[in-house]
């Protein structure tokens, strides 16, 4: 793949590295913007960020739209702060498939955290990323990690197939279910419920939350994954919470810390880290190839004529397309 000639020096963001390390808010924010803009000139600075990262406990928070992700992140981060740790938050909302724009509204719920210098919140749009988790979101996590935040929360977009991606980005995955969605529990059984290291039932101040808790617990005892698939036999807990009455939040924090310790003690942490990095390499390669295809639509058009008259199938055309790119 040809490296694009930039003409200029590749030192964009190098002047921010010191500031990021010292936890300077402005420097951290600018560096995340550079990750999002993905200019070739900022690659060396982002590579240095990556070298400095790798110490934080990264927690993914996922669940159906309206299950209370932002609200839970708000009270959870507050509890984390009370334990004396610094918390970084990457809150992801979807981009419009039509205009590419986005409304990032997670901050509306995060009212407990404003004014606290120990919390850094960054809202990010998916910007059409396949899988809902943009490469830049993971680089934003790196920036916060390099800036010394102890705990980093990734709040995903509302549920879909997308959600499974977060398991490949976080050390601990928290899946939120809200009461009153009984049938949906059945429907998504084969999806995101399987990836949880910790289950949360939100809004447990509501009367119908007990049914949801029972459903989840029942599902966990039946599942094969319940014991075997988790590193070193981690028993997936179901934690009822209420952001309204601040019930169960300390239990959730204890479960998250417990999972972190379990990963460290069982050797599961190294395995997760390896999986996360492998996924990032593959995802980045996909990004680069996709961008390359967009830039060279003309290469595709010759092949497309043959696909259209069905003398070549899409699979063969794809292989030919890859060959042509590699020839350059």
């Amino acid at each position: 793949m040809s490296a694009k000639k930039t003409g200029g020096k590749n030192d964009l963001g190098m002047d921010l590295l010191d500031g990021v390390e010292k936890g300077n808010v402005r420097a951290i924010a600018r560096m995340i913007s550079l990750a999002e803009a993905a200019k070739p000139e900022s690659r060396p600075a982002l590579a240095e960020i990556f070298r400095r990262a790798g110490n934080a406990h990264v927690i993914g928070i996922t669940g159906v739209p309206g299950s209370g992700k932002s609200t839970l992140v708000d009270v959870l981060a507050k509890a984390m702060r009370a334990s004396g740790r610094r918390v970084g938050i990457v809150a992801i909302d979807p981009s419009s498939p039509f205009s590419g724009g986005a409304i990032l509204g997670d901050r509306v719920r995060m009212t407990e955290l404003t004014g606290d210098d120990g919390v850094f919140i960054r809202s990010m749009a998916t910007r059409g990323a396949l899988g809902g988790l943009a490469r830049s979101s993971l680089e934003a996590v790196d920036v916060l990690d390099a800036a010394g935040f102890d705990l980093i929360l990734i709040e995903t977009v509302g549920v879909g197939q997308d959600e499974v991606d977060v398991v490949q980005a976080a050390h601990t995955v928290v899946v939120i279910s809200a009461p009153g969605l009984g049938d949906e529990i059945q429907a998504i059984k084969a999806g995101i419920l399987e990836i949880a290291d910790i289950h949360v039932v939100s809004k447990c101040d509501r009367a119908d939350s007990n049914a949801t808790i029972t459903d989840l617990k029942g599902m966990l005892t039946l599942g094969v994954r319940a014991m075997d698939m988790h590193e070193g036999g981690w028993r997936v807990p179901v934690v009822p919470t209420s952001a309204e009455t601040v019930e169960g939040i300390d239990d959730l924090l204890a479960a998250i810390d417990g999972h972190g310790r379990h990963l460290a003690d069982s050797g599961g942490l190294e395995e997760r880290r390896r999986q996360i990095l492998e996924m990032r390499v593959l995802k980045t390669a996909e990004d680069i190839i996709r961008k390359d295809f967009r830039d060279r639509r003309d290469k595709l058009s010759g092949l497309m004529d043959r696909v259209r008259d069905r003398s070549m199938d899409p699979h063969e055309a794809a292989l030919k397309l890859l060959d042509r790119i590699n020839e350059d």
């Binding site: 924010a29 913007s33 039509f98 205009s99 724009g101 509204g105 509306v108 960054r122 910007r127």
Partner: protein, 138 residues
Amino acid sequence: MNEEPDVIRVLLAKVGLDGHDRGIKVVARVLRDAGMDVVYTGLHRTPGEVVQAAVQEDVDVLGVSLLSGAHMTIIPDILDQLKETGAADIRVVVGGVMPDGDVDALKEMGVAEVLLQDTPPDAIVATLRRVVARRGPR
């Protein structure tokens, strides 16, 4: 490499005792449809909260909607705090209802643009793009 086009980031905020958020939600939608990333912070924020959010979000434009008449106290506070944080390159655009005389005074203080209640959607988008272009790359 996978370089993205520069997406304009905007933070929209309601500050102080002002519960009228119909307008700002319409503006958020208009900007989204123009391809911008819009961070919305909700009602009843303090100038300090808004500035902290704008700096963390590293937005190009901080849009403050005010229908309460408190613009001549709130806006200078926001501008000062941005300067103190070393974030004066975040352009402030004010929207809402205010006397004509105050518009000039706000611009004098360093507000990039003031958009009054009769501004059409296209003009809002064009104004924000112009404000960001005038600032130049950073």
